[in-house]
Amino acid sequence: MRKGIFNRKTNAVRAVDGVSFTVAKGETLGIVGESGCGKSTTARLLVGLEGIDAGDLIFDGDRLGVDLSLKDLWDGVQMVFQDSYASLNPRLTIEETIAFGPKMRGVAADEARRLAHELLGRVGLAPARFAGRYPHELSGGQRQRVNIARSLAMKPRLIILDEAVSALDKSVEAQVLNLLRELKDEFGLTYVFISHDLNVVRYVSDRIMVMYLGEVVEIGPVAAVWEKRAHPYTAALFAAMPSMDPDNRTEVPPLAGDPPNPIDPPSGCRFHTRCSFAEPVCGKTRPKSVAVDGAADHDAACHMLDPISGHSKSAGGSRLEAAE
């Protein structure tokens, strides 16, 4: 299972620009970044809800639009949305909502209903009690469980979770994350987990992809990214996490200012306007993605890591002192 190269262009925003990554079967890829970084657009591209302007999406070896129709894609890829209220039709009972997909695939109404009940039970909502309820009669956590059950009803192999736990209270978030972890093992699923919360992404993911203004700045195994923080933006993002230590609070903000408007991104390296290591080269050339410490599975796009970029800190691939 792998994903190809995207290059989405619109008149207004290049929401996602030159993004390439793969997701291996059975793994969880976490995507983090701030608002406007293109993570939600990436999610919608992966399920074919947005058209791709240039590049390819390859699922299980089949190229979307060539060997693979949207309908085929949806047989294998489903999505869980962030807003648990907007993602459930207020006029359908949750049983009808879950059974809708299978029925569209030609499953008999009785069988779809039985499946809906089974899945409701699996996500922790007793079917006898919940099947006939409407979304507004459920709590946020319960609605998100329904959302998960609906995607499972399509028997997908890959589930895109777009900020699926972000709107939940912390104690409920933990319940839903535990559920997702169990379901992954039980159904042999692959996840793409999108969140702005590094703590959550770090906990659920095998690999992590950091995005900034529509570009991938760093991608690699969680432990390696966590330790090396090769890209200055990754370092800043990690440093901005609350310390959780009253005797050792954060004293200096790792970054100044807000992320720039994605409609008009900075030239060269898009992060150079906020980066404390920026040099003239950063405003001119777009950095190449290079292997971090020669590791095959850990890449970052920063001139400081590229020995031939001309950045003063790049000579000999000198390590970046963390920006904390």
């Binding site: 949806w74 962030q82 807003d83 039709n89 997909g101 922790g124 006939g132």
Partner: protein, 303 residues
């Protein structure tokens, strides 16, 4: 199967909020009905309208005088006259009978155009809102052209072109109401279409028509319906206006707008009598508007 693997099990069985609610929920319309019945203003208006509707429908069964035969000796009798509770008009015809029989046409001209326009406008608006693109541009820009004219002017122009008569009034009023309903339908459809449950339905592989039928129509109907209800009073007033100008119903047919027109000469003799058809128009449209307000809040299912 348990979903939350906890290190500790509660000593007392948990009973979270939602589990105390009844297992089977009421249907949507039942809920709307229940909420509406708790709104005193809406219920009074609904009662008055039902009464009027019943009187109008069963008019031939009521002990009323003939609305068409008058007597020249008993013209313009005041309200409370023996045998004519609401007096008589300028040709000596019984006012009560004429008001009730007149209500038949006025209500029909108020309701039918809105019903037709509701069907056509919803179709056009949902089509434009869901499909989007050039189809949206074609439909909505055409609608905008009609919007350039004030509705009363448009109704007069179309009626004038088609000629006087009940059917032509119906047609012209329907045309007048299609643009506003289409516009409302388009905007609510566009906003529902952007909601994630429509995306979820699309990625379940459902055909566009099924997505619209199951996920869009159910959620756009109520706001469009509420808006259309508020148009019935406008339609009634426009119909009365057309008759008043001689473009709608022709004498001697009783119709509130026409009655207002023919009685206007009597305004200096008996102003109260002359104002009676106007009062009926006012009361009915007020009730329709208040009922539509009540319906709007009853259909809001947030809590």
């Amino acid at each position: 199967m348990s979903t939350t693997v906890d290190t500790k099990v509660p000593a007392v069985p948990a009973r979270p909020a939602a589990e105390q609610a009844p297992a089977q929920s009421k249907g949507y319309w039942q809920g709307v009905g229940a909420r509406l019945s708790r709104d005193p203003v809406a219920m009074v208006c609904a009662g008055l309208l039902t009464l009027l509707l019943a009187a109008v429908v069963f008019a031939p069964l009521l002990p009323l005088a003939d609305p068409f035969t008058g007597s020249m000796i008993s013209r313009l009798k005041p309200i409370g006259t023996e045998g004519h509770i609401l007096g008589t008009d300028e040709l000596g015809r019984d006012m009560l009978a004429r008001l009730i029989y007149g209500g038949r046409l006025t209500l029909m001209l108020g309701l039918l155009p809105v019903i037709f326009a509701f069907l056509i406008g919803t179709f056009l608006g949902v089509l434009a809102g869901y499909v989007g693109g050039w189809l949206n541009t074609v439909i909505m820009r055409t609608v905008d052209v009609f919007f350039a004219f004030p509705s009363i002017l448009l109704a007069i122009a179309i009626s004038g072109a088609l000629g006087a008569g009940i059917v032509n009034s119906l047609v012209s009023l329907t045309i007048v109401f299609i643009p506003p309903i289409t516009r409302v339908a388009e905007s609510v459809t566009a906003s529902v279409r952007s909601l994630e449950y429509v995306d979820a339905a699309r990625i379940s592989g459902a055909r566009a028509l099924t997505v619209v039928r199951v996920h869009v129509l159910g959620n756009v109907m109520s706001p469009i319906f509420v808006y259309a209800t508020s148009l019935t009073s406008v339609s009634m007033i426009l119909a009365a206006g057309l008759s008043f100008l001689g473009l709608g119903v022709k004498p001697p047919q009783p119709e509130w707008g026409l009655m207002l027109n023919t009685l206007r000469t009597a305004i200096y003799i008996d102003p109260v009598l002359a104002a009676l058809p106007g009062a009926m128009i006012f009361l009915t449209s007020l009730c329709l508007n208040l009922l539509s307000d009540g319906l709007r809040s009853a259909m809001n299912i947030k809590d």
